[in-house]
Symmetry: C2
């Protein structure tokens, strides 16, 4: 039986939509023998992490913490805490993850208005403006970096419209966070979530989240209990930031050790340097792929630097190429999701996977295979 | 600023209510460079883990998997998938965690009947029998090992009553799992959840879960969507066990590496040997503590071997003793929770922390301090 053998995985180069490669310092920190989740030393670690969540989200929000579960649980945390049955929500959908937000909002009992853009294009602020003439949403939600399409969504104008309409502005920054600017305070973002395993380059399983004071007020004015006990911020808050830490659940101690080290690497590099590196390696990939005749799906004005959606060339077998990349070169790239299944590759250059070496390895391997 | 320093934790001996000490092989497996969560090698690892979940729950259930979040999310997974608004639930409460189940069941819109026992005592099957004369629950839920009180709850008679009443039998095995017998099939358990960080001795953050075919049928007969998208088993199932693995969320790859190795250690030792070791070290602790005049709270017939609830001796300052154990001896024990705050210590002898050395270190330190 296979479980009787020692773990024996290949050394992969992770260039899909996440997880990305993880720095050895992060792996080493994660392997530190555990301490208790209420140990004063762990409370200090939670404080360190809170501070680094604030720095990387570029926010002074008091409520900044990490959900003890992957990014999709971060998404659900924001929606279940802000929405009550009967509330209105305006959800912008230009890929899988906007659709997921609408699904969750409906599970919260919200009446959802959808604003949609074709896959591979961003939402136009004018669409949002028009939709706001017919609804009064409590929450206006949008994905900053659509991992399913490779689109970088401009946020400032839509955020302004949300505030003018009296709505809370909720942003999915799972893929953009720590790879391109995410300015929570400057852009008026009221609630935001991300994931650990993209440009932050920590192992998957944690979701940094922050709420503005206005979002916290909305939480405090709720008439009903949050439908999820595990994600109820009125409870999670006292665990993360109470004067006396109140036991809620057992935090994933080892994953938090890893996250702290991943954040330290981000801040040592500096956010602006990190963003520039992501742009630089994206430009290199673009030049190389275009020389190979591989086309990008998204217009240059809206391309994500860390998640490159390209058209699978005519006559090329998607599954065969990805399998050969994995088996012969240990390189993982992502297939298409949803509408783009079989039509697109998603090439991630995220965090530790955003290096010229990664680009060169992939391009050389593709040249040999195609 | 503190986050600028390298992670620098003390080497603790974890003898509280969890996490427990983790074997070096588990830490080493966790530090393995990541692979993608849809990599064929990772799919094999999920299959290995599924098989080991079945072996340790002593079940042939087809639906056996791991929730990508801590034990309390495992609890919520079971309740949100089995309960719909208007359903009846009978919840047995003899400590904090039974109360938490009732809270979550109410958040699902269920009408909850509570059967309660005083803290430190198990639920009597006769109480359940009497309660079943006045309700027709869809789910009857109970905690096997109440971590807040140290009580081992007999399950077989209550499981039989649940089935006679046509209810699904839901069991919390967070603290008992892998430390004492949990016979899912033999005891007729329809839904069960546990945690990684107790007697399984993996890092916290994952929750093994299993559903019987009858529970899966109940899931398939639902009239409403599960209120949590993240915990919706109709989606999670296809990720874990579909013919073609369907992307749901990004699994916590490193934590799963660690979990696989922790399971391998459990199965190499053998379940019965492991249970005997937990009993043996409990007996040693009992003899040593009684010689010190420290009394157990729970009647010997119902004592948990892995979580020893003892009365704090008169005149002893709870906080001072626990702080000195931590600062001078690097030993963590648990304080009391809920009604037992300030009155009880909870001494964990779980998994890798269940050794005679742990008992001897703690007893010697207590002798010096008291």
């Amino acid at each position: 039986m296979a479980y009787q053998s020692e773990l024996n995985t290949s050394r992969r180069y992770l260039m899909g939509p996440g997880p990305s490669d993880v720095h050895p310092r992060v792996l080493k920190a994660m392997a530190t023998p555990l301490i208790g989740h209420l140990d004063p030393q762990f409370v200090d670690i939670m404080d360190d992490i809170k501070q680094m969540v604030q720095l990387t989200f570029q926010t002074n929000n008091h409520l900044a913490f990490v959900v003890s579960a992957p990014g999709s649980a971060g998404m659900e945390t924001c929606l279940v805490n802000l929405l009550e049955p009967g509330d209105e929500a305006l959800i912008c959908i230009h890929g899988v993850f906007g659709g997921r937000m609408a699904d969750i909002a409906e599970r919260c009992g919200a009446r959802v208005t959808r604003v949609e853009a074709p896959w591979g294009e961003p939402i136009d602020a004018q669409q949002v403006k028009a939709a706001l003439e017919h609804c009064r949403p409590k929450v206006l939600a949008i994905v900053h970096a659509e991992t399913s399409t490779g689109v970088l969504q401009p946020l400032e104008e839509i955020g302004r419209l949300a505030h003018e309409a009296g709505a809370l502005f909720l942003v999915d920054a799972v893929t953009s966070y720590c790879g391109t600017a995410v300015k929570v305070d400057e852009w008026g973002i009221d609630a935001i979530y991300s994931g650990a395993q993209k440009c932050l380059s920590a192992p998957p399983g944690l979701s940094p989240v922050s709420f503005s004071d206005k979002a916290v007020e909305a939480l405090e004015r709720r008439n009903t209990k949050v439908q999820s006990w595990f994600l109820d911020l009125s409870l999670v808050r006292s665990y993360w930031a109470g004067a006396k830490r109140t036991y809620h659940h057992t935090a994933p101690v080892s994953a938090m050790f890893a996250l702290r080290e991943a954040y330290r690497l981000v801040l040592e590099e500096g956010l602006e340097n990190r963003f520039a590196r992501h742009r630089r390696n994206h430009e290199l990939l673009k030049r190389e792929l275009e020389a190979l005749g591989v086309e990008f799906i998204v217009h240059p004005d809206y391309r994500l630097p860390m998640l490159n959606a390209v058209r699978i060339p005519d006559g090329v077998d998607d599954a065969v190429v990805r399998r050969r990349l994995l088996d012969e070169y240990n390189i993982e790239i992502g297939g298409g999701l949803g509408q783009f299944a079989g039509k697109a590759w998603r090439i991630g250059l995220m965090g530790e996977s955003s290096t010229p070496n990664h680009v060169n390895m992939l391009v050389s391997a593709l040249k040999a295979i195609l």
